[in-house]
């Protein structure tokens, strides 16, 4: 089995799987269990200032979007940062670090945007022996209304300023956790870098309203007939997180800025995808909250087998390997042409491919052949959009066939994908420049 040892921004851990700052990391009890289960590291549930602790609602604070089989697809919460006294958390952190010296223990922080407040907490955290800091600039509810969390993360200048304070008053590596509730994720990331951040982590949760109860006509979760927007996470947010992580992964200005990927990671496959798109390690919250800590077994085993199969010796070898496949639309090869094809032996004749193409796309799948129920592609109309493939219930029954040195019967043009044609040089583009 491959060694999954990880070094993220100078923080070592036996594997790249960390638990994100959230309820699973709120107490020594949970964190001990996580380490027993095999997690490589944790980011402790966000700590706030000393003083009277935060108060959470006593009504429901979570709500889920369920799939057909009641699996949790999306998850939402209106929980605040830790509601336990600062002192207690710091004591526990110190003890856990002592008991688990080989695991990564990062402490997440969120205090008011004043230099003194940060300075005071930083020294206390350092005394625990923790390995690093994560600055929670992402929480989208409850704390942001008090001028913290996302309220900071949405203003690049604040991000830079607070990061700089942390670098100044602490010798620990600083990870800046970014909020996805922005239009351009590169701006806060660049600000963090300017402030001296050692790494960024993303994404925190996305603003969301989960659902409306159709009996009571009030939103869910409901607390005494009222509700509020919360943070969305879980498998549903993975594509958004992948986009943001990869956007930083290919941003020249963020080069060499390590990324800790978070958002909908549930298994080794998700983890591998994030690593390939530029993440240095991954953090997990919802998958653990919906299955328990044992899921890490499959993550460790699966990733290590995958690496062996693909010939990657270490986790760092994986990082960013898929980045070169990511480009902007105008650089895609417009000479690359595919057509849908149906394996008639596998086809169960449900007709879904036909009706979606007929009603909403290109009328390129026949429903009948010589009066018989038989689904066949009309290559003269098929644009290769992939819609039918996504709805076919039988695996590998409907696939896309690549055209190579043959005439596309839809356009009548010879297809030669080797001759790349990008929009930037396309004859229909009025702004086309002749040079590549």
């Amino acid at each position: 089995m491959n060694d999954l040892k990880s070094n993220f921004a100078g923080i070592e851990s036996p594997n790249p799987f960390w638990l994100a700052s959230a309820p699973p990391t709120d107490k020594a009890y949970n964190v001990n269990r996580a380490f027993e289960a095999g997690w490589g590291g944790v980011v402790w549930k966000t700590l706030g200032e000393a003083g009277p602790p935060i108060v959470n609602v006593s009504g429901p604070r979570y709500e889920a979007l369920h799939g057909k089989d009641r699996s949790v697809i999306g998850f939402n919460n209106i929980e605040l940062i830790t509601d336990r006294p600062l002192e207690l958390n710091l004591q526990e952190i110190a003890q856990v670090k002592k008991d688990w010296p080989d695991r990564a223990l990062v402490v997440s922080l969120m205090v008011p945007c004043q230099e003194a407040a940060w300075k005071s907490i930083l020294s206390q955290v350092e005394d625990t022996g923790a390995d690093g800091l994560e600055l929670n600039f992402g929480c989208p509810h409850g704390m942001s209304e008090r001028g913290m969390g996302a309220a900071v993360g949405q203003v690049p200048d604040y991000v830079e300023m607070v990061t700089a304070w942390c670098k100044e008053y602490s010798r620990l590596p600083v990870i800046v956790k970014l909020t996805p509730n922005v239009t351009n994720i590169r701006q806060p990331a660049q600000a963090a870098k300017k402030g001296g951040a050692d790494a960024v982590s993303l994404i925190n949760t996305i603003n969301s309203v989960m659902s409306v109860d159709l009996d009571s006509l009030s939103i869910n979760p409901t607390i005494d007939a009222m509700g509020t927007h919360g943070g969305y996470c879980g498998p549903a947010v993975k594509p958004i997180a992948l986009h943001m992580v990869s956007d930083l992964g290919r941003d020249p200005e963020c080069e060499d800025l390590p990324i800790s990927a978070i958002g909908g990671i549930s298994n080794w496959r998700d983890a591998a995808e994030f690593l390939l798109l530029g993440a240095g390690n991954v953090q997990v919250c919802t998958a653990a909250m919906t299955h328990g800590f044992k899921i890490v077994d499959d993550m460790i085993d699966g990733l290590s087998r995958f690496m062996q199969e693909k010939g990657f010796a270490s986790v760092s070898d994986l990082v960013g390997q898929a980045i070169p496949s990511l480009t902007d639309w105008q650089h895609l090869n417009l000479n690359y042409t595919v057509k849908a094809q149906i394996d008639q032996d596998l086809c169960i004749k449900c007709g879904r491919c036909h009706i979606v193409c007929e009603d909403t796309s290109h009328q390129a799948i026949y429903a009948r052949h010589n009066g018989e129920r038989r689904y066949e592609v009309n290559e003269e109309e098929c644009v290769g959009c992939n819609l039918c493939v996504t709805v076919c219930p039988v695996e590998n029954c409907l696939t896309l066939r690549k055209l190579e040195n043959e005439v596309d019967v839809r356009t009548g043009q010879m297809v030669s994908p080797a001759e790349k044609l990008q929009w930037t040089r396309h004859p229909n583009n009025p702004m086309a420049n002749a040079d590549p």
């Binding site: 089989d69 169960i348 129920r373």
Partner: protein, 448 residues
């Protein structure tokens, strides 16, 4: 289901109380447990929402199956029932009685590979039962046309026709020979398919629309003639089903202990107490259709010790599907294939067994006897047109009325449907379709 059987020392001959009432009630439980709400939703999610769905094509009444299943999946069971009842007013009975494995579920695209079909029948039942429970009204009558239609027979064909006609604004009088409505839904379908008086509940639902008057104990051919009906009404629909069972034409057939399977089931369906229904200790059922299966299984559930279905050809030729054959076998019924009945063996003038000649490939084999104190004949029902028909008014083929696509008989102004017409498949669902098609045709004819 735990089948309760009798000890091997019950009285020989035909006797009641082989099992006590509680044991009978336990045996006659639901054939298929109805779906709970959550199970229904999960099952509904399995449907692929096919285009030009093969299941709809296979349904004789053409129910929009993917349409109603999607409504169940989205928590709208009542809407689903509306979609079902629009095409099939007896959706409730059909969900219980249809041989789905040879109809909709048989062609479900999910039959491929090691997958299994969507349980369309159970989903349909879930939706219709839910709507009946809620007492939802789905239909209203169009403006009155002032026309009156006489319908003969309050079975599936007659009631379906009457309902559609009433929706279209006509007034209907249904003439029914027996004291209850429902036809074979009430008198013929197996008890474990139609628990808790469902036939009567459904009839009430159908007639609650108004405009349908059912007159009981009136027999066409005895109390009224076709000509009289034609005078009384603007159109006539015949849905009189079939008559008594066919004869085997073998010696001993008339003896005590030999009975018609349909009559046996009829008695069972109408019994106040199941345990009071007399049944043999050893029962032989002759035939290969749904009636044979139903008679044999119900005899077993009443406490008969040995029940054998004897069929003159092989399993594949049986009109009862393989699924139904399995259903009987699981309940302890033996099926003897390739057995041609030769004679009923008598003892003291009563049936004591049936002698068979091997048929098919093994024709040369030796005759054998299956002992039986009760012999049930299930070889099809005969025509009873003669009784109803007045002097050869109609074109008839093999004792059944010849009709065109719109279910018009050869006699102008008279439509027919259900088991009494030629070329049908003797299923409840087809009778319902006939009634619907005829009603639409009558409406068109009367609107001219």
């Amino acid at each position: 289901m735990e089948l309760i059987t009798t000890a091997h020392n019950g009285p020989s001959g035909i006797a009641a109380e082989r099992l006590n009432e509680a044991e009978c009630q336990s045996n006659f439980c639901e054939m298929h447990m109805p779906l709970e709400e959550n199970a229904a939703r999960v099952e509904a999610e399995r449907c692929y929402f096919c285009f030009d769905a093969p299941c709809t094509e296979a349904c004789p009444t053409g129910i929009d199956i993917p349409g109603f299943i999607r409504m169940i999946a989205n928590g709208n069971a009542v809407g689903a029932a509306g979609l079902i009842l629009e095409e099939n007013i007896m959706g409730g009975t059909c969900a219980r009685a249809c041989p789905v494995e040879t109809l909709c579920e048989g062609v479900c695209v999910r039959n491929h590979g090691d997958d299994r079909p969507v349980t369309i029948g159970l989903l349909q039942r879930f939706a219709v039962d839910e709507a009946l429970q809620e007492g939802t009204e789905f239909f209203s009558r169009s403006e009155q046309t002032g026309k009156s239609i006489g319908v003969v027979g309050a079975g599936p064909a007659g009631l379906s026709c009457a309902h559609r006609l009433s929706v279209l604004g006509h007034n209907v009088v249904v003439y029914e020979a027996r004291s209850k409505s429902g036809g074979l839904n009430e008198y013929g379908l197996a008890a474990y398919k139609m628990l808790n008086g469902f036939a009567q509940r459904e009839t009430e639902f159908i007639t609650s629309l108004g405009g349908i008057e059912i007159v009981h104990d009136v027999i066409l051919g005895r109390d009224v003639t076709v000509q009289e009906l034609q005078k009384r009404h603007d159109a006539v629909f015949l849905g009189i089903g079939l008559g008594g069972g066919n004869m085997l034409g073998i010696p001993g057939e008339e003896a005590e202990g030999v009975a018609d399977a349909v009559a046996f089931i009829d008695g069972l369906r109408q019994a106040d107490q199941l345990s009071a229904v007399p049944v043999g200790r050893r029962v032989v059922v002759i035939g290969g259709g749904m009636t044979a299966i139903d008679a044999a299984v119900q005899a077993k559930l009443l406490g008969a010790e040995e029940v054998t279905i004897a069929y003159r050809r092989g399993a594949d030729a049986m009109k009862a599907s393989i699924v139904e054959q399995e259903f009987a076998k699981i309940r302890g019924v033996s099926i003897r294939y390739w057995a041609q009945p030769g004679a009923v063996i008598l003892e003291d003038g009563r049936a004591a067994g049936v002698e068979f000649q091997p048929s098919g490939d093994t024709e040369a084999g030796e005759k054998f006897v299956i002992p039986a104190d009760m012999v049930l004949k299930a070889i099809g029902q005969g025509s009873h047109l003669e009784r109803a028909e007045s002097a050869g008014l109609f074109e008839v083929a093999s004792g059944r009325l010849v009709v065109d696509e719109e279910r018009r008989t050869s006699c102008s102004g008279i439509w027919a449907g259900g088991d009494c017409i030629a070329g049908g498949d003797d299923l409840t669902v087809s009778a319902v379709q006939d009634g619907k098609v005829a009603a639409n045709s009558i409406h068109r004819a009367l609107s001219l």
